[in-house]
Amino acid sequence: MTFEHEVATKVAVPDGLPMAPRPFVIRRTRRETYDTFTLELESTIKTKPFSFAPGQFNMVYVFGVGEVPISISGDPDNMDKLLHTARAVGTVTKRMSALGKGDVLGIRGPFGAAWPLAEAKGKDVVIVAGGIGLPPLRPSIYSIMRNRGEYGRVCLLYGARTPSDILFPREMETWRKKHGIDVFITVDRSMKGWKGNVGVVTTLIPKATIDPLNTLAMIVGPEVMMRFSALELLKRGIDPATIYVSMERNMKCGIGLCGHCQFGPHFICKDGPVFPYNRIKELLMKREI
């Protein structure tokens, strides 16, 4: 394959039976919004800490119910706990949201390509998140905060449906106050008491406090949002070669064997989910790919 860019950081594959989940126990649960929750998990095999790279995902299994791909939302430098943040929308995630401390889930992973954090060093970073697209970006934010000095200006542009859909609000305050991350939030629909921005997330892009000529962008959200965010970033003069997006498709295996996640020639599970924008921009512009 000839691509203009290298695949984002590849991560070593775990050994063992590829379709058999490894049990993880729930140590804490946290309700983020009315329909979104975070599970804090710990491997039941103490000798095998869980390490991952920001942007990777796991196949998360609820005993006898099913398995779904969910990105990892925790700190890559904290190998003791594995965090998943999900919205209760399907059979598996609804069941997952009803689980509590001490319950056990199955984990296969981590899978997929990671965010290009090494490439982002020395650059400004703009992170654009739509809705449930914020959790897959949080590991990158943790990583950037830990090595804050190695990055230039860092700007998070976050769009939620309504003020009550905003994820991690208190945490975002900390990111803003203590870690020098510029956080801009907008909502699609306002509610009583909301004094912030109203409108789609792309309306925040002109506000981003970055140097377009030396910026790396990471975008996660619905496909249409990523498409328009990329176009808006291009308008600001950002080099398309420094824009990255994270794609989503149906997945049954996570390891390139089930065929479900194909996006043109790419298997989202192993070639992605993080892709350089240049590599997939033509496909992004087509419907029903």
Binding site: A20, F63, V65, R249, L257, G259, H260
Partner: protein, 382 residues
């Protein structure tokens, strides 16, 4: 492409030796699988002896049409291909991936039952057509050559003994010459047969393609073939090639299909396509699958089952909030573009071997060679 050693000796065996061949494979503990007549079609199943082969039968294939009929001779391989392919043995349509049991600490995966190792007998595929040999090699690339390998597939595949058969009678739906996959056997086989039959004679030519094959051959009666016998074998393949009418022009096919993702033909073929998934089930390379997780009634034992899936179902592309490929047009485009174009990017080979099954078994007779032609003839008309 892997080339057979040109020095491979060609031997002659009599038709009766086909029975010996099956017996020797049985003696070597193989479960012998091959073509047999059942329910009005030639399918692949257990061969107990040579009489299970569809002797004297052939078939007529056209778009959306398959009928078996009697030949006026006793050819053992006088047919082409039925609806089955060897993938059903290497990549079964339903298989258990693991079972798990609830315990005080949550659950544990039952390792002994997980992804069963080749506890069953090794398999001998008897009568593998050249296109199918290529199809197996293509599925090897999918299941046995990536970062992740499918343990079930590999366990079975590693032990397979392949008896290939050169093609003598291409069906009307065949186009292997275009895909470079036939009608002559090429690739990794253990033994290769060529059936020679006319009014005067009926015998087989046989070549060993591996030490395993040589060892089996030693156990059956065979003689070095004479020059004119060898050339008769070459004639069989040459005649088969010249009798093949259907073609698919593969020049620049990847770019052609990538650039024509919005071609109006997709709309037209989408209107004809029933989205029935037949083409993906009969295709010897289609590998898409889904998993089903279930439990027993008590909720203490859970199982994950893998099943063949098809990109023609609506469910295939489901993500929260909806399905990606809602139209039949998009699903046909996905299938054909994957088969002929993106497969090349993914696995370094076309996903099509020109066996023509998707044409024959399509209830409305959609023809992948016609669809390619229409797009090529109106290239860029999107």
């Amino acid at each position: 492409m892997f080339q057979v050693a040109v020095t491979a000796m060609v031997y002659r065996i009599e038709t009766a030796a086909v029975q010996s061949l099956i017996e020797v494979l049985h003696q070597q503990n193989y479960s012998v699988l091959g073509p047999t007549l059942r329910d009005g079609s030639i399918v692949y199943d257990e061969l107990h002896d040579a009489s299970d082969l569809p002797m004297g039968w052939t078939e007529e294939q056209r778009p959306g049409y398959y009928r078996i009929r009697k030949r006026n001779d006793e050819a053992l391989f006088g047919f082409t291909l039925g609806p089955h392919s060897w993938k059903k043995f290497l990549f079964p349509s339903i298989s258990k991936l693991f079972s798990a049991s609830r315990n005080a600490k949550g659950f544990n995966v039952l390792k002994d039952k997980a992804e069963p190792k080749g506890g069953t007998k090794p398999l001998a595929f008897f009568g593998v057509r050249p296109c199918e040999l290529h199809a197996i090699e293509i599925q090897d690339k999918v299941f046995a050559s990536g970062d992740y390998k499918d343990p079930q597939y590999n366990n079975v595949r590693a032990q397979v003994f392949i008896v290939a058969v050169n093609c003598s009678h291409p069906a009307e739906t065949c186009f292997c010459s275009s895909m470079g996959t036939g009608p002559g056997v090429e690739g990794q086989y253990d033994l290769a047969l060529t059936e020679i039959i006319d009014e005067k004679q009926h015998f087989f030519l046989i070549e060993a393609g591996s030490p395993k094959g040589e060892q089996v051959l030693e156990n059956i009666q065979h003689h070095p073939a004479e020059g004119n016998e060898v050339s008769k074998g070459e004639d069989v393949v040459r005649t088969a090639a010249s009798n093949m009418k259907r073609t698919l022009d593969t020049r620049g096919i990847k770019e052609l299909l990538y650039e024509n993702a919005e071609h109006p033909e997709w709309e037209k073929v989408g209107a004809r396509c029933l989205s029935c998934a037949n083409c993906t089930l009969v295709c010897p390379t289609c590998f898409c699958n889904t998993v089903e997780d279930s439990t027993d009634l008590g909720g203490t034992e859970a199982t994950r089952t893998r099943k063949w899936d098809s990109c023609f179902t609506l469910d295939f592309s489901y993500i929260h909030g909806g399905n990606i490929r809602t139209s039949t047009k998009a699903r046909y485009r996905q299938w054909m573009t994957h088969k002929l174009a993106s497969w090349i990017d993914q696995f370094g080979t076309s996903g099509c071997v020109g066996c023509g099954r998707c044409i024959t078994w399509c209830p409305v007779g959609i023809d992948i060679t016609d669809e390619t032609r229409v797009i090529r003839d109106n290239n860029g008309s999107a």
